[in-house]
């Protein structure tokens, strides 16, 4: 394993990289990890309570990004007021809410009919819904993608010593860490969280105590989807907004959830961040393997701890 310091002579297979560049790559890895953490947490929450493997997560992520883009560039002309815009900050709240309401409608109308069946049916349904959503956006907006400018206050880079880091990326890291921590706190340290965890454990008993479990399930699904929505709006200024942006990311996020342990909130958050860093490091050493490495770790994790690193053994 080559050490990433400039004092090491650059050999044939050894990447010639300075400490500065190494730090820069780690930081980029951390930014990627934040998206993994946000997305995988939503998946973990949904799986924990609903036992549904939510394949629409990527499409919901994409939908929020599109809503933000529509708000910023399209809605004014549509309404006949070309100057009217929904700013990034408003979109950051509004788009996840819209996506959550859309998600809850899907849960009430479709998913709720499948709870008594095998996991596989939920997976197939959500996968189908995702394909329909992607197809719809592709039909309406094409595939080349749309650009989304970050708000003015977050444009441009700042010098953080070892690199020029775009302000927007710093904002993404801070915002996602706050949201992750808040979610963890909500689920693990509050009374509401206790109900939710009890619902995971034994929904019937909880219902017997007078808690409206179906409503709780719907709201939880909405919350998980809203997390995907927040990630989508955060991603819009970084990635091109395209109908396929979520699908591409989702494969990796699923691996993250499996490694962290299905249903473990803390696990998916920490695993997401860690895998972002590992992916970043792989890009330094051997970029060709940067996607594969996540799946190699998943295979290893499944061999050693089938329930995931943070999962409870069943």
């Amino acid at each position: 394993m080559p050490l990433p310091f400039s004092s090491i002579p650059a050999g044939a297979a050894m990447p010639d990289i300075t400490l500065q560049a190494f730090m820069a790559q780690l930081t980029i890895g951390l930014i990627g990890g934040c998206f993994y953490a946000l997305l995988s947490m939503g998946l973990a929450i949904i799986f924990g309570l609903l036992n549904i493997i939510n394949f629409t997560h990527g499409a919901q992520f994409m939908m929020a990004a599109f809503l933000a883009w529509i708000g910023l560039t399209q809605i004014g002309p549509w309404l006949g007021y070309p100057d009217f815009q929904v700013s990034f900050w408003v979109a950051l709240v509004l788009a996840p809410l819209c996506v959550a309401v859309f998600g809850m409608a899907i849960e009430r109308l479709l998913l709720a009919r499948l709870y008594h069946l095998d996991h596989l049916y939920g997976l197939l349904l959500t996968f189908g819904v995702a394909l329909v959503m992607e197809g719809g956006f592709r039909y309406a907006f094409g595939v080349s993608g749309q650009g989304y400018e970050p708000p003015e206050i977050l444009q441009g880079p700042v010098d953080v010593g070892f690199m020029l880091l775009p302000k927007y990326r710093i904002f993404v890291v801070v915002a996602s860490l706050l949201i992750c921590f808040g979610t963890w706190f909500l689920f693990e340290r509050t009374k509401l969280g206790a109900y939710l965890r009890a619902g995971t454990e034994n929904p019937r008993l909880l219902q017997a105590f007078g808690i409206n479990v179906p409503v709780m399930i719907t709201l939880t699904y909405g919350f998980g989807v809203a997390l995907a929505g927040i990630a989508g709006v955060l991603a819009a200024p970084i990635m091109q907004v395209t109908p396929l942006m979520g699908g591409n990311l989702l494969n990796i996020v699923f691996a993250v959830v499996v490694i962290g342990g299905l249903g473990s909130i803390l696990g998916s958050m920490l695993t997401g961040l860690a895998l972002g860093l590992i992916e970043g490091l792989t890009k330094v050493v051997y970029p060709e393997a940067s996607t594969v490495v996540v799946f190699v770790i998943m295979a290893l994790a499944l061999l050693v701890r089938p329930a995931g690193l943070f999962g409870r053994d069943v």
Partner: protein, 406 residues
């Protein structure tokens, strides 16, 4: 059902009455049918897709909808970028659909599959969007024309122009699959042949999401040119994220995407794409003739044509003119005629079709305008120079048996 049948029968008898007996002798099945096979729903649908069929229709209309007295018809289908689907559709079109020529093919694998079938059935293929070198090298066919560009010509245009300005040190950011590798290989060979140096390569997974890591490595290499050997959303994301980090914003280090379509620039926006050098075979705002075609297209599509869509227009027009000149729609005779013609229309300039199927013609070295310089939507490029076909297209390869014959 019954009414429809009667309608069909009536239509067929009227059609057979209107076709002059003369045309029936010269044109097989009494109709010249052009098929457009491309991506109508997937990642390549913006620069080919429905627009390609619209472009072909413009060509047919310009010919008056008829050639040698026989009607010209158009069909289009989605090959979903899958060679097996493309092959099945092509077989059906040739066997039952009376299709004489199929054009477009944004995915090289579909192009190669259909070329083989067309050769067996004695029909013509015109790759207006297919850019694989194999189509004019080891897989070349006497009944095929690569009617726009190939990866070599695209790389050569940009690479040679940048080398001429003294930018000799290069770094490649390459999509890690066959297409990216061949683009990188061709471009590096040119760089080294001109006394330049390749300082490093980052090969990214396909499709990639976050390119900042690769772009930072490229920046740190100190190379004068960061060449992107990828396409579509990968190119767009790489350029966009480079702009975020302020990479490629000075004259000391420029970003050069080796395969870019006008749809990519549209998607990026001029603020992000400004100052980039790129090579395209067609730009709508090049001169009065190209503008006249583009406006016709715009009237129907509300977008300007991409180089691939424009190529479909030129391919269909030249194909029909060749039928007229040859006096028959027999594939071999039409191709022989095409090879003797000088192709000069709204899209292709100084074009000659070679034995191996490469259409050698002028290309454009372009620079993306700054937002302030752009006067309207789709006003994206400044034409830096016209590159002569002989300078940018590869020499005939020995891998193609048609070249060996002389």
């Amino acid at each position: 059902m019954r009414a429809r049948f009667i309608g069909l029968a009536l239509g067929a008898s009227i059609a057979s009455l209107t076709i002059p007996a003369l045309a029936a002798d010269k044109v097989s099945d009494g109709v010249v049918k052009i098929g457009i096979l491309n991506d109508l729903s997937g990642i390549y649908s913006d620069f080919t897709g429905r627009g390609s069929a619209v472009a072909a229709q413009i060509a047919i209309d310009e010919m008056g909808g008829k050639v040698l007295g026989a009607p010209v018809e158009l069909v289009a289908a989605d090959h979903q970028n899958k060679p097996d689907i493309a092959a099945n559709l092509a077989r059906e079109w040739f066997d039952q659909g009376k299709v004489d020529m199929i054009a477009d093919f944004p995915t090289s694998s579909t192009a190669l599959a259909v070329m083989e079938i067309a050769k067996q059935k004695n029909r013509v293929t015109m790759l207006s969007a297919g850019v694989a070198m194999a189509a004019i090298n080891e897989k070349c066919s006497p009944l095929n024309a690569q009617w726009m560009v190939n990866t070599y010509a695209l790389a050569a245009g940009t690479a040679k122009a940048l080398l001429k300005t003294g930018r000799k040190s290069w770094y490649f950011v390459t999509a890690d699959y066959t297409f990216g590798h061949s683009l990188e290989k061709d471009a590096s060979a040119m760089v080294e042949a001109e006394g330049g140096k390749v300082l490093g390569v980052s090969r990214h997974p396909f499709p990639g999401g976050d390119f900042s890591s690769f772009m930072l490595k490229a920046q740190a290499s100190g190379a004068q040119v960061i060449a992107l050997a990828n396409a579509g959303s990968d190119t767009v994301n790489a350029v966009k994220q480079a702009a975020e980090y302020g990479i490629g914003r000075s004259d000391k280090q420029v970003i050069a995407p080796l395969l870019t379509y006008i749809t990519d620039v549209k998607s990026l926006g001029l603020a992000k794409a400004q100052d980039m050098y790129l090579t395209e075979a067609f730009y709508w705002d090049y001169d009065d003739r190209s503008r006249a075609f583009a406006e016709k297209y715009f009237a129907k599509m509300k977008r300007m044509p991409s180089a691939s869509q424009a190529a479909v227009y030129s391919a269909a027009l030249s194909y029909l003119k060749a039928i007229e000149a040859a006096g028959t729609d027999e594939a071999g005779a039409v191709m022989a005629k095409l090879r003797t013609m000088t192709i000069d229309d709204a899209v292709i300039r100084n074009g000659h079709l070679r034995a191996d199927g490469a259409l050698v013609h002028d290309m454009l070295l372009l620079q993306v305008k700054k937002p302030a310089e752009s006067k309207r939507d789709w006003d994206f490029y400044t034409v830096k120079s016209v590159l002569k076909g002989e300078e940018v297209f590869p020499k005939p390869s020995d891998a193609c048996p048609l070249n060996a014959k002389g």
